[in-house]
């Protein structure tokens, strides 16, 4: 799949954070970046919830759904940063 445009990626991250698929943007240290793996997992979770094929890729169908009017409440409880064992 072609790489998503920067503005789509920005919309996607903001959207995923707002509706509980990613930790809130203001969470933790400023400037925290999602890893590509985290982002892909979040997109996949969102796609599963929405009944789309869970590819983990921010494709057109996923973006279209993100632009669909919806309820403000998160789909999932706010995600928290994962702790990993060394």
């Amino acid at each position: 799949a072609p790489a998503p445009r920067a503005e789509d990626l920005s919309l996607g991250v903001e959207w995923l954070s707002r509706f509980g698929y990613l930790p809130p943007a203001a969470d933790g240290a400023a400037g925290r970046l999602q890893t590509q793996e985290e982002l892909s997992e979040a997109i996949g979770a969102m796609q599963r919830f929405a009944g789309l094929e869970a590819t983990g890729v921010l494709d057109e169908a996923t973006l279209a759904l993100m632009r669909t009017p919806r309820c403000s409440l998160p789909d999932l409880p706010a995600a928290t940063p994962a702790r990993r064992r060394r």
């Binding site: 509706f19 599963r48 919830f49 929405a50 009944g51 759904l65 632009r67 669909t68 009017p69 919806r70 309820c71 403000s72 409440l73 998160p74 789909d75 999932l76 409880p77």
Partner: protein
């Protein structure tokens, strides 16, 4: 990470619209009506009762707000996020429901760009009673706006949503969890009636009829109790034939969903096959489930095979699931199971000797007898007998409405409504036992 379910500990929840939309073509009454019906969707399947209040704090405050409005969920103009509601809990905002005032809220609109207020409200009130978003394909609790869901009077929750609300609150009595939802569509949109107005307690009007001097529009045994209807009022007697109140109650305030302008009813009966209550007035009839009118009513009396003009009386004959309808000097026998009139009807004169040829109404009572009312008198037909019992007619006011003969007599009709009932005139009445009759307005 599914959140722990939250729910209300109480089952009677108040609501009010605190801020209405500002520039919406939907009027305030329409908004209130849509909120009423959106809440009713949930109250119809779960044991939750919603009532509108005014001016006082409510459990569910409804606001139409724009942009940042002092919660964690600012709105973002047309599209995007359109509404949200807070789950039950300890927070002050629990149950509160906010709609984005920047949306083009619609109702029964063909405008594809509009946002159907009823559909969104049903979803948000799902949150307000404790449901979160779900991924289920057929659920009103999907997070995305799916468009209008149809007429508010005929909308039924998808099964997935009914199951989830039952998990929180249980099943409302009279709802069968396994019954498929009614899917019949109205041939034409029904008018959206006004929601019940709970906002004031209007004192009884001064022109209320007096129980001792009036003749009644309709009489019915409902859930074992007797109801005497006159104009916009009714009196109620318990199973022991005790008058609940000397003052009549207002029909509108008890039987929810009848038109506000209805000035009386012609006949009422409790349907033996499903215990729903049927009201007749002129060419129309309404079916009530308990005290709430069913969706899709009124309907024409031609549904029963009755001619225009309605009926004077209806008598449910529980043994055979037949209902007798009386109009002028004709009567019909209706088969409730087959939903059609029995052959050979209408026929002339009632099938019991001695019963007057025209009636105000009739009912069966728990003693097995049938009672026929006309004017200020009634006739009794014992169970299984072909004719009126000896000694009838008798005074309805005296024997049913706790009146003295002098009160029931037109010459002695000056008694004020609410005057203490005299003792000894009625079998086992409250007054005979020395009790005051308690007031009951709704």
């Amino acid at each position: 990470q599914a959140p722990a379910p939250t729910r209300w500990n109480k089952r009677n929840l108040s609501w009010r619209v605190r801020r209405f939309p500002r520039d919406s073509p939907l009027g305030r009454d329409t908004v209130r009506a849509l909120m009423h019906y959106a809440l009713k969707v949930w109250g119809d399947v779960a044991p939750l009762n919603f009532h509108e209040v005014a001016g006082s704090p409510a459990d569910i405050h409804i606001d139409f707000s724009k942009a940042e409005h002092n919660d964690r969920y600012p709105f973002d103009g047309p599209g995007g996020t359109v509404a949200h509601a807070f789950l039950p809990g300890d927070r002050r905002a629990a149950g509160d429901t906010h709609f984005d005032d920047d949306e083009a809220w619609t109702f029964r609109s063909a405008d594809e760009h509009g946002m159907d207020l009823f559909a969104v409200a049903v979803h948000e009130f799902g949150h307000a009673i404790g449901l979160s978003h779900v991924a289920a394909a057929r659920s009103i609790m999907q997070p995305y706006y799916q468009g209008p869901v149809g007429d508010p009077l005929h909308y039924g929750l998808p099964y997935a949503d009914r199951v989830r609300v039952w998990q929180l609150y249980g099943v409302r009595e009279s709802v069968s969890p396994t019954a498929p939802p009614a899917t019949t569509e109205p041939k034409e949109p029904a008018l959206l009636p006004e929601p019940p107005d709970n906002r004031s307690s209007t004192p009884p009007r001064k022109d209320v009829p007096h129980r001792c001097t009036t003749h009644f529009d309709a009489v019915a045994q409902i859930r074992g109790e007797a109801f005497f209807f006159k104009g916009k009022y009714f009196w109620r007697l318990t199973r022991d034939r005790h008058l609940v109140s000397l003052q009549p109650a207002q029909v509108q305030r008890f039987w929810r969903g009848l038109p506000l302008h209805l000035d009386g009813v012609d006949a009422v009966y409790e349907r033996a096959i499903d215990h729903k209550i049927v009201f007749f007035k002129g060419d129309r009839y309404w079916v009530f489930k308990d005290t709430n009118v069913e969706e899709g009513f009124p309907r024409p009396v031609s549904d029963f095979g009755l001619p225009p003009g309605g009926v004077d009386a209806a008598l449910s004959w529980a043994h055979s699931d037949k209902t007798y309808f009386f109009k002028d000097q004709l009567y019909w026998r209706y088969d409730e199971h087959a939903r059609r009139m029995d052959p050979g009807h209408p026929a002339r004169s009632p099938p019991w000797r001695g019963v007057p040829s025209t009636l105000d109404d009739a009912m069966r009572w728990s003693d097995g007898a049938a009672y026929f009312f006309r004017g200020r008198e009634y006739w009794k037909v014992l169970d299984g007998e072909p004719a009126v019992a000896p000694g009838y007619p008798q005074s309805t006011a005296r024997d049913w409405l706790v009146c003295r003969d002098s009160q029931a007599d037109p010459a002695g009709a000056g008694a004020e409504a609410g005057a203490p009932a005299p003792p000894g005139q009625h079998d086992r009445s409250h007054s005979e036992d020395g009790y005051q009759v308690c007031a009951c307005s709704s």
